[in-house]
Every structure is written in structure tokens, then in C-alpha cells.
């Protein structure tokens, strides 16, 4: 195997770049150029408050302005996304475990069911929740007739007899929309595990729960890691759930960026906020990857 790798490498400086060139071109056109443009806008000033124009001026103050003006949205975005990610793990891990080890002949069907929501647009599904959970929707109707709104208020599922317009609703929407991105990578990593390892651990004097903690959990961490990235990053940047299921007190960073771009036409501020958001996520992911040290597991 080493031999073939060597020859293909030796043969292929030129052909390797040749094969990569479409991807590199794509990356330059659709990533490097837009990012450079965005950075340029983020460093611009806005001379006329009523017009959507800007002039480049090395305006670093845009970044600090964005942080101080939108700090609560930043906190909220990462907070909601973190809670939703944890919920996704709590829901997704057992489900993935069941799919990988217990589902038997039902496995394909159940995996299909996990994917079924993707056949409908993300936006439409979220709007559907708005109808289902809304003031005039079936859930509230049922709760009111069953006189359970007091109970759900107490459990913090509703506030003043309403599901919508609460942080819980936004977090619930995020969890619902992204849980599949947690289930699938965890399922893939669990499915690769030789089930005989559990027998081996039991044979070596561990009860199943301990065997799970010492064998299955560490071996499935790469899946949890991938699932967390796939869930946390889009959840933090999401604004559909916040706009449709929340209220003015639950706006997330995505809604603010949208506002700045579309309503205020303040392109420099919007671009600066986008950049800060990306920087925080990138830093967070690097720290997370270092802490979990997943490369070590693949050996």
C-alpha cells in the first residue's frame, strides 16, 4: 500500500493540482473573494445614514461597535445554540444507539424516518410549528380545555399559556431542526463499533453500563464531535427559528445581521458583526477539537 501511495505522489505533482483546480477555483470564487469583500465592507464607513452605500476607510471601530451594541444577542445566540446542541445529544445519542445496535430489521425504515423531515423545506417546517404551537393551534386548544396550562407554565414549557415568543420555543425549534444532524454522525460512528467489544468487556468483569462508558462512549466520541459541529454552528447562526417562534426578546445574531443588511442598510456594521460571529465560532471549534482530541481515537 505504501508503494502505491508513493508512486502516485511522485507521478503526480502536476496532475494532483490539475485534479484539484476546479475545487481551488470554486474556493477562490465563492469563498476567498466574498470573504475579502465582506472584510472590505466591514472596514468601511457609512457616509449617508439613508443610503445603502459605504466607503472603504480602515474603520476598525466597526468591530468594537458591533460587539458593544449586540453583546446580548451574541450571548443569546451561543447560549441558545449550546442548549439546543446539548438537547440534540440527549435526544440523538440514545436514538442513534438504538438504530445502531437494537433496531434489527427496522433499522432502514427508522433511518428513513429520521430523514423524512428533510423532504420539506426547513422554513415550511418551522412555520408549521408556529401553526401547531400558536395561540389558535391545536396544542394550546387542548391544554386550555384540559386545564393544563398551569402545569405547563409551571414546567416552563409555556409562559402565560403560550408556547410561542419564549426562549424555550426558539431552543425547541433549533433542537427540532438540527437533531438529525446529530443523530446521523453518531449513528455512523456507533455502527462501526464491533458489538463483540461489549461481550468482551462483560467477559472481563464489567457490567453493561460500565462497558458502555469505557468502550462504546469513547469510540463514539468522533460522531458526537461531528454532530456537535453540524448542530452548534448552524444553530448559532440561525435566525428563522428566532424570528418565527420567538419574540423581540429572543432575537439571535442572525436576525440582527439580517436587520442591519436589509432594514438599516448599514452594510459595514452588518459585515463587522458577521466577522466577529465567525471568528468566535472558529475559535470555539478549535478549542473544542483540542479538548476532545478526536484524532487520537482514529488510530
Amino acid at each position: 500500500m505504501a508503494g502505491t501511495t508513493n508512486t502516485s505522489l511522485r507521478k503526480g505533482r502536476k496532475s494532483t493540482y490539475g485534479l484539484l483546480s476546479p475545487a481551488i477555483l470554486w474556493l477562490i470564487l465563492f469563498f476567498v473573494v466574498p470573504m475579502a469583500t465582506l472584510l472590505k465592507i466591514a472596514l468601511s464607513t457609512k457616509p449617508d445614514p439613508w443610503l445603502p452605500n459605504y466607503t472603504f476607510a480602515w474603520e476598525w471601530g466597526n468591530f468594537s461597535d458591533a460587539v458593544s451594541r449586540f453583546s446580548s444577542e451574541l450571548y443569546r445566540s451561543f447560549g441558545y445554540a449550546a442548549v439546543a446542541t446539548v438537547l440534540c445529544i440527549l435526544i440523538g445519542y440514545p436514538l442513534a444507539y438504538f438504530l445502531a445496535f437494537r433496531a434489527g430489521k427496522w433499522r432502514s425504515l427508522l433511518l428513513g424516518l429520521v430523514m423524512v423531515p428533510f423532504f420539506t423545506s426547513f422554513l415550511i417546517r418551522t412555520i408549521a410549528w408556529k401553526t401547531i404551537l400558536g395561540r389558535n393551534g391545536p396544542t394550546i386548544w387542548f391544554l386550555e380545555h384540559a386545564h393544563l396550562t398551569g402545569v405547563t407554565d409551571f414546567l416552563r414549557l409555556t409562559s402565560n399559556g403560550s408556547f410561542l415568543g419564549t426562549p424555550q420555543a426558539v431552543i425547541g425549534g433549533l433542537t427540532y431542526n438540527f437533531v438529525a444532524f446529530m443523530i446521523l454522525p453518531i449513528y455512523v460512528s456507533l455502527e462501526k463499533i464491533d458489538i463483540n467489544l461489549l461481550d468482551a468487556a462483560r467477559d472481563l468483569y464489567d457490567v453493561p453500563a460500565k462497558a458502555f462508558r469505557k468502550i462504546i462512549l469513547p469510540l463514539s466520541l468522533p460522531g458526537v464531535f461531528a454532530g456537535t459541529l453540524l448542530t452548534f454552528i448552524p444553530a448559532a447562526g440561525d435566525y428563522i427559528n428566532a424570528n418565527l417562534l420567538g419574540n423581540a426578546n429572543t432575537t439571535m445574531i442572525g436576525s440582527q445581521i439580517e436587520n442591519l443588511f436589509l432594514s438599516e442598510s448599514n452594510y459595514p456594521a452588518a459585515a463587522a458583526l458577521s466577522f466577529i460571529f465567525m471568528a468566535i465560532i472558529t475559535a470555539g471549534v478549535l478549542v473544542y477539537a483540542r479538548v476532545l482530541g478526536t484524532e487520537e481515537l482514529s488510530a
Binding site: 463483540n196 461481550d199 468482551a200 468487556a201 462483560r202 472481563l204 469513547p218
Partner: protein, 388 residues
């Protein structure tokens, strides 16, 4: 052919006679089939015991019941006299070497081997002492910090052995542990396993479908077929005196003919085979005069002589139909006058070997003849395939 009781061709032999594992009338039924039917035998201390049979014969299910991964439907399994039929595997003093080794891929060799002692909460120094000792026994001391993925198949195999043996179990259970290795390595590991077993003195219960492997390593073999234990005995007994047509065909190769018992005098039984009369000495088949059974001669006991008939052997004229050079031996197929085929394994020599078409004398001595109860399956009345 299915015998309800396993034929014990000899009393329990082996280094000791104290039973470690007793399989007491154990049956295992799954939803749609019976995997093990009334298995009843015991395995003694320090013995290398093999369960041999084709796939689906119940050998692995029996092993998994001893390990605790399956629960018998009826009967009891006793470990040093104590009924463990319903004790979970983590509370049983036996350890398993799994077919695909099942090493923990995220732990290095040392941690893999230390898994059991740590789970048992042995003191640190004791864990270290045992792990070092066993890594020495399997000759992997230099590989302690490697991950299983960085080891060869043979090395992984030895890690699996060390990981099980480090617990000093009452018996070590091995589920086709050599199946994944190539032939050369497998033969090396067979001897290595024997050496390790002698060194640690622990009872080995070995499951295999490879008759040669079982013959090479075992003190005793239980031959199993479709859930039944057909015969238990030393390799020699099982080979020389198979208790059934199945055993005769599964262990090595055999020439089989339908035979009718016509006379019994003293230790000699006279049978009629293919229209001729033959004497069988010390028959153990239990067939009565007038009953039909199977007459067996091993191919390596058949002589093929081009020239004269041997005076002390039973001789028949045959026409060579096929000659296969197999290295140390030449495999002949020859047709007898009645149309049946006889297979002979003849030591390869440089010259003087008959070739297909030659009419030769096929012969064997009286002590090569064995009489078996039951009749051979019609489709393979001449030889049974050698299960590799």
C-alpha cells in the same frame, strides 16, 4: 445417525480427572431452531478440550453458554461444581478469546490486557505484575504501548490471549481464534497455543471447524453435528474408531461401504461388503448379526500395488481412474469391480507409480477395517469431503 447420547469412546483422560466444567444435559432452543440438543459431558482440569463440527453444529452456542452470553433452555452448566447457568458473564470465572479478537481499539496493548484485572479492582502493583507476566508469556513485552490497529493478525491474537489469561480463569474459552490467520501463521499459533496452555496449566476449551487443528492440539475432542455431540474422545480414538459415519467423514477422509454383518466369532466380526466377505477385528459398532452398517477404511491404509498381492492383506482388483499429486502423498481414485470407488493415499516416490488406466491390486490389512453403525449418505458413498 443422530445419537441421543454422545458416545464416550474412552473414560475421561487428561492431566487431571477433576471436572472443571460440567455440561449437564444442556439444550438450547432459539425461536426457530434447536442449537444444542441434550449435550452432556464434562471437561477436566488442565485439559485441552476441543469442540469440533461444521458451522451450525452448536459448538459456538455451547461455548457461549459456558461463557454466559447465552442461557441454556434446559439443563445446567457447572463451573467447579457450582451451577452458573444463570450467572452473567461478568461474574463467571471463565474468559473468552473471541473470533475476531474484539480488542479495544482505543486502548493500547497494555491497557487491553489490564482491562480485566482493573475491572476486578486489583491493586495497581498486582495489575502491573500480571500484565507484564502475561505479555511475557505471549512474547509481546516490546509492544505494550502499541494500539491493536498497529499489530499484525498474529500479534492481535496473542494480545487477545493475554487479555483473557491475565485473569487466571478457571477455563479459557477460544472461539475459532485462528480462523482469521493464514495457513502458515495458523500452524505456528497452534503450537504456540499448546505451549502457552502447558505453561499456564489452565483448561482450554477450543471451538473449531478445522479437524486438523483439533487433532493437532487437543487432549480430547467432542465432535458435534446439528446440535448433537456425536462422539467424545482423544484425537487418536476419534480418528481410528469414529462412532458414526458423520464423524468418520468429518475427521479426515474415509472410504465407506454399506456392510452387512454375517457372523461374529470371538473378537472377529465377518461382514459382507460389495459381494465379498471381510473380517473386522475388535468391532465396537454394536451391530448384531444380520444388521446393516458401514465399513470404513482410511485412504492412507490402502495400498496400491501394481505387481503382486500382499499375502497378509485383503486384496481386490481395481482400475486407477485418477491420480493427484499432493506433495508428500499421491491421491489415487480407483474403481472396483462392483463400480464403487476406493481412495488411497500413497507416499509419493519417484518412480513405479501406476497411472490412470492401470489395473492394480488395492489392499489393506485387517486392522485397518472399522465397522460403523448407520449407513453412509447415498450421494457420497465413496468418500466424504475433507473439510478444510
Amino acid at each position: 445417525m443422530s445419537t441421543p447420547q454422545a458416545v464416550q469412546t474412552s473414560p475421561i483422560t487428561g492431566p487431571g480427572t477433576k471436572p472443571v466444567i460440567e455440561i449437564d444435559h444442556v439444550s438450547k432452543e432459539f425461536a426457530d431452531f434447536t442449537a444444542v440438543k441434550d449435550a452432556n459431558f464434562s471437561i477436566v482440569e488442565g485439559e485441552f478440550f476441543s469442540m469440533l463440527g461444521p458451522s451450525g453444529c452448536g459448538k459456538t452456542t455451547t461455548l457461549r453458554m459456558i461463557a454466559g452470553f447465552e442461557t441454556p433452555t434446559s439443563g445446567a452448566i457447572r463451573l467447579q461444581g457450582e451451577d452458573v447457568s444463570r450467572v452473567p458473564p461478568n461474574k463467571r470465572d471463565v474468559n473468552t478469546v473471541f473470533q475476531q479478537y474484539a480488542l479495544f481499539p482505543h486502548m493500547n496493548v497494555w491497557d487491553n490486557v489490564a482491562y480485566g484485572p482493573r475491572a476486578k479492582k486489583l491493586p495497581k502493583e498486582e495489575v502491573a505484575k500480571r500484565v507484564e507476566e502475561l505479555l511475557g508469556v505471549v512474547r509481546l513485552s516490546d509492544f505494550a504501548t502499541r494500539r491493536p490497529g498497529q499489530l499484525s493478525g498474529g500479534q492481535q491474537q496473542r494480545v487477545a490471549l493475554a487479555r483473557a489469561l491475565v485473569n487466571y480463569p478457571k477455563a479459557l474459552l477460544l472461539d475459532e481464534p485462528l480462523g482469521a490467520l493464514d495457513l502458515k501463521l495458523r500452524q505456528g499459533m497452534q503450537l504456540e497455543l499448546k505451549r502457552i496452555q502447558r505453561e499456564v496449566g489452565i483448561t482450554f476449551v477450543f471451538v473449531t471447524h478445522d479437524q486438523e487443528e483439533a487433532l493437532t492440539m487437543s487432549d480430547r475432542i467432542a465432535v458435534m453435528n446439528v446440535g448433537n455431540v456425536e462422539q467424545i474422545g482423544s484425537p487418536r480414538e476419534i480418528y481410528d474408531h469414529p462412532a458414526s459415519v458423520f464423524v468418520a467423514g468429518f475427521i479426515g477422509q474415509a472410504n465407506l461401504w454399506v456392510a452387512k454383518v454375517v457372523e461374529r466369532t470371538g473378537s472377529t466380526t465377518t461382514v459382507e461388503v460389495a459381494g465379498r466377505r471381510l473380517d473386522v477385528e475388535n468391532d465396537r459398532s454394536g451391530l448384531q448379526v444380520g444388521e446393516t452398517g458401514t465399513f470404513m477404511v482410511r485412504p492412507e491404509r490402502v495400498h496400491i500395488d501394481a505387481d503382486a498381492a500382499h499375502p497378509e492383506r485383503w486384496t481386490v482388483a481395481a482400475t486407477i481412474t485418477e491420480l493427484v499429486f499432493q506433495g508428500p502423498v499421491v491421491r489415487y481414485e480407483a474403481r472396483l469391480a462392483d463400480g464403487s470407488t476406493v481412495v488411497a493415499h500413497v507416499p509419493a516416490r519417484r518412480d513405479g507409480l501406476p497411472i490412470p488406466g492401470d489395473v492394480v491390486k488395492a489392499s489393506w490389512s485387517d486392522d485397518a477395517c472399522v465397522l460403523l453403525p448407520g449407513v453412509p449418505a447415498p450421494t457420497k458413498s465413496d468418500t466424504a469431503a475433507d473439510e478444510a
